[in-house]
């Protein structure tokens, strides 16, 4: 399993897509620095806000693309047949893909986070800790989206799965706004709809710490714990469901 993970990681590391996204994100982080230097008073704020948003977008795009294309491509090219004939259960192959995604995004997160950190002038200790936590949470979110992408790709075509998992990511932030509008518009059963939506989408809006304001004061430990539990819960649930579906999938 570890071996499989490593092989996949190597392949994707060589892949142009990964390098391009990383390069764009890098530019974005630098760009946020440029923006920051334009308005002097708001400098720190702009750098951090834009930079963190850029990092999240980059990681989520890598996660979506990797999760929806790796397994699907391997099935499409029939290269998976010889792997399936080896004495490893199918779920381990899935976990192998997830593992490679975790490694890839970890490397991307480290590179981007360090780059952005260099642009922040005189960060104090508390800010640095919060900054690290924010990056970890962004990383976790990308893994959640990755596991959902993998789940969708077991049953759907790669492009469709890609679009769908990006949608899940967007929805995970905007369900709260959806609720707000539903209440404003006095739609019937808005509560029930909201409960339903919160059940089928992760609730990233609850730990959206990608802004300077948040990072200046300490992140609440119980919020942090909730963010971790929520993410791990989603990853476990998606991977479990994906394994169940993949176990019975016919590879023709």
């Amino acid at each position: 399993m570890i071996r499989l993970m490593w092989v996949n990681t190597q392949e994707w590391f060589r892949l142009k897509f990964f390098q391009i996204v990383l390069f764009l994100a890098f530019l974005f982080v630098c760009f946020s620095q440029l923006l920051g230097s334009l308005s002097f008073t708001e400098q720190q704020r702009l750098v951090v806000d834009f930079g963190l948003a850029g990092i999240e977008i980059a990681l989520v795009f890598i996660a979506c693309f990797f999760s929806t294309h790796s397994l699907a491509k391997e099935i499409e090219r029939k290269t998976i047949l010889v792997l399936l004939a080896r004495p490893i259960p199918r779920w381990k192959i899935l976990v192998g893909y997830f593992g490679s995604l975790a490694i890839l995004n970890f490397m991307a997160a480290v590179v981007l986070a360090v780059t952005l950190y260099f642009f922040i002038t005189s960060p104090n200790l508390m800010f640095s800790i919060n900054y690290l936590l924010a990056i970890v949470v962004i990383y976790l979110k990308s893994l959640v989206i990755g596991s959902i992408g993998l789940l969708i790709s077991v049953i759907a075509r790669p492009m469709f799965a890609f679009v769908l998992s990006i949608t899940v990511w967007l929805m995970s932030y905007s369900i709260i706004e959806v609720q707000f509008f539903m209440e404003k518009a006095q739609i019937e059963n808005s509560k029930e709809i909201f409960t339903f939506l919160s059940a089928i989408f992760p609730q990233f809006y609850k730990f959206n710490w990608k802004s300077y304001g948040f990072l200046k004061s300490l992140i609440n430990p119980s919020d942090l714990g909730w963010a971790f539990l929520h993410s791990f819960g989603w990853i476990l649930a998606s991977m479990y469901l994906a394994s169940l579906l993949f176990r019975k999938k016919e590879i023709v």
């Binding site: 071996r3 029939k78 290269t79 047949l81 080896r86 004495p87 490893i88 016919e250 590879i251």
Partner: protein, 248 residues
């Protein structure tokens, strides 16, 4: 002892939900006795590859059962097999050596002399010179040969080869035939599908004949040949029972 016992498997494919399913395997039963070479023959589209896919649980039969050993688990069964797919599609970003290493590790073999074993199988398929080349730079015949090396790498007891001779030049064909002949001296079991009846005649003492999704014969090769001097003639006579129809 039988390594595999297939009883009455049926399989239909439904390419799209609105289309009528086509039954590819209608009734396939056979046994694979240990230590024998078994040839799986039949015309194009008879269902040979589909049978092998059922055996390896890439797909699941609609009806019928497949029993491994004396009720071995499927994972346990897979520890002892080597498999060569019909078409040699492998992770092309790996080199020959990395590819073998991957399969060595995945096979979960307890032995630890990979370098030695890899050199051995590479020599066997005459690919030692290309071991550090990426698979995407391999020719079709080389891919077929590295595929065979892959199936042999972890000392399998049971080889499943789906058309091992396809895509090979005459030299390659002779090479593979010689490898198989050498394997015959060991206790290995081989199930191979092929269209080359002379090869099957030469190598396999057992036969499974599939035609239009049905298994018509499962027994020894001499028995099938009975009144004919070659397998080719016997097969022709067998086919003569049916209206020969090449619309497939």
């Amino acid at each position: 002892m039988d390594i595999v016992k297939v009883s009455g498997i049926q399989k239909s494919f439904q390419p799209d939900f609105y289309k009528k399913p086509t039954q590819v395997l209608k009734n396939v039963s056979f046994v694979i006795p240990q230590g024998k070479f078994i040839g799986l023959i039949g015309p194009n589209g008879a269902g040979k590859t589909t049978t092998i896919k059922c055996l390896l649980q890439f797909i699941f039969p609609d009806k019928g059962t497949i029993q491994f050993g004396d009720n071995q688990s499927f994972i346990e069964f897979k520890k002892h097999i080597g498999y060569l797919p019909e078409r040699p599609f492998f992770q092309e970003f790996l080199t020959g050596m990395e590819f073998l290493k991957l399969h060595w590790d995945l096979s979960g073999t307890k032995k630890d002399n990979f370098e030695h074993r890899a050199a051995e199988v590479l020599e066997l398929v005459k690919l030692t010179h290309a071991k550090d080349k990426k698979l995407k730079d391999y020719s079709k015949g080389m891919l077929q040969r590295i595929g065979i090396a892959q199936s042999l790498i972890a000392f399998p007891d049971f080889l499943i080869l789906d058309e091992p001779m396809s895509g090979l030049d005459p030299d390659g064909r002779i090479l593979i035939k010689d490898i198989l002949k050498d394997l015959k001296k060991t206790h290995i079991t081989v199930l191979m599908s092929s269209h080359l009846l002379e090869d099957i005649d030469e190598l396999c003492e057992e036969l499974i004949v599939i035609h239009q999704g049905e298994c018509f014969y499962n027994g020894s090769t001499p028995e099938f040949k009975k009144n004919y001097s070659t397998l080719q003639e016997a097969y022709k006579a067998f086919k003569g029972q049916f209206e020969v129809n090449y619309n497939v």
